[in-house]
């Protein structure tokens, strides 16, 4: 195999992979690195974000953080997690709030704020792009694109 053919193959591979990598930046669920949680199931994450049960398996109380509606990652997250539109999620929370059962997770403006929240709360849990996740947090769930 000569070098020009290799270059061509590499070029094609880049063409195929790059746009995919950009368009489908992988959304992951992260927890505080010191929470002692290493991996979670989808149902455990649903239970925490929908307020059904806000505790990790090891007894640490979960403190979820959400994004504002105007940030596109919020719609991506709920679509990937439960296949629901944001208006369904908001309707769910209006039932919980106005029946006096519970409050939704606090909402922050952007993924940097999510990272700040998760690293500042022992039971912090949020969702960000994989590229955003640094040593302050631990990735416990990946949504396969």
């Amino acid at each position: 195999m000569n070098s020009s053919r290799l270059r061509l193959l590499f070029f094609i591979a880049c063409l195929l992979l790059l746009p995919a990598g950009e368009a489908l930046a992988e959304l992951v669920v992260v927890v505080n690195a010191r929470s002692g949680v290493a991996v979670m199931t989808r149902n455990e994450i649903i239970n925490i974000f929908f307020g059904r049960y806000r505790q990790f398996f090891n007894g640490v109380e979960a403190q979820p953080v959400d994004l504002v509606d105007s940030h596109a990652d919020r719609a991506r997250f709920y679509s990937a997690l439960v296949g629901k539109d944001l208006s369904d999620v908001n309707a769910y929370w209006s039932r919980q709030v106005f029946s006096g059962r519970m409050q939704p997770p606090p909402r922050v403006a952007n993924p940097d704020e999510v990272m700040k929240w998760v690293s500042a709360h022992p039971g912090g849990i949020g969702f960000v792009d994989l590229a955003k996740a640094d040593a302050r947090v631990r990735v416990v769930y990946e949504f396969k694109p």
């Binding site: 149902n43 806000r54 505790q55 439960v82 296949g83 606090p106």
Partner: protein, 405 residues
Amino acid sequence: MTRQRADILLRQAAGSFFAIAILLVQLLVAPQVAANEESAFSLHGFGTLGLARTTGNQAEFVRDLSQPRGATDHWDARVDSVLGLQANWQLTPQLEAVIQATSRYRYDRTFTPEISWAFLKYDPNPQLSLRAGRLGTEFFMLADSRLVGYSYLPVRPPGDFFWYLPFYAIDGADLAVTVPVGEDVLRGKVYYGVSDANIPLADKQWKIDGSAMAGGYLDYQAGAWLFRLSYANIRFSHEMPIDDVLAAYLPPAQAAQASQYLTTANTRSHYYSLGAIYDSGPWLFQLMLNKIKQGSNIFQSSEGGYVLAGYRIAQVTPYLGYSWIHSDSRGNTLNPVVASIMADSHADQNTTILGARWDFAHNMAIKAQWDAIRGEPASIFPYRQERAAWTGKTDVFSVTMDFVF
């Protein structure tokens, strides 16, 4: 007399207890609140602007028994319109104060605002939740969010299922326990309290304030499925205002006997229900069944239920439902006057529901719905001002705009 006075004293005591509790909590946690970076106070609201009409004027259609007049063949805004405001104050991470006021067409034919909830909620850990004050009742699943149109799919909770439920709040306490079962969640709740309400009855009102309510339920959440078993009862504290009707049509001795026979004070009604909800992706499916055992001869025990299915397509969710209610007439009616009073609580009908919800803007939805009610002419219980020509069949058309903020 003594009973009434005891009720008043009890309520005053509960009121002052609540005020003192809030004051104490304020004093205790004030420094913490100031130090808390997260917003401790929030104000939210919900509302519905609704229009409903039927295809006839032989009976007036109401949302539930708390409404004295209803819709006929003219568009009527009273049936579904409501406005609610709610303030939440997170005093500590475990303690929250909630107060909600609502305005809707009510028993006295006004939209006078009421304090629907006012309670303190204490969640010492993720397993336990305690509330005390004025609370929403959950005699049936979803019953404590019946007024929040934005939170559910159809225009209003199916009447055949919810008509017998004019109770919205108790002054009391509840306790909920949540236990994980693998990835599933089991939740149980018990509550006790006294009612603070009136039910309209022709041109009069039946006081149910002071009536003791107690109940509980078990929820099992497994993925997209939620199942509930529930039980509740109410012990009515007052008589229905029917004595002057009896006196007008019956000789005194018979009137007294009839009054005794139709007594409601100190009778107990029992509410049993079973519900299943499947909520996943674009699909929503609900099945609810209930059985109501009435202690007083003036009411008929009943069985009802509904199924509802919806499928979201982009911003529009069409839905289809079917509901039913059948009540059992009692055999012994003493005399024709008593029989006609007892026949007032007869219900025997089913309803086909067809509609669509359009989430046209952020936190706003428009709904349009057709209810095809097919019942027996004797099915007059859920209606107001029914006339002799009533056939038991009518169609209800409704349009609403729901919002939350």
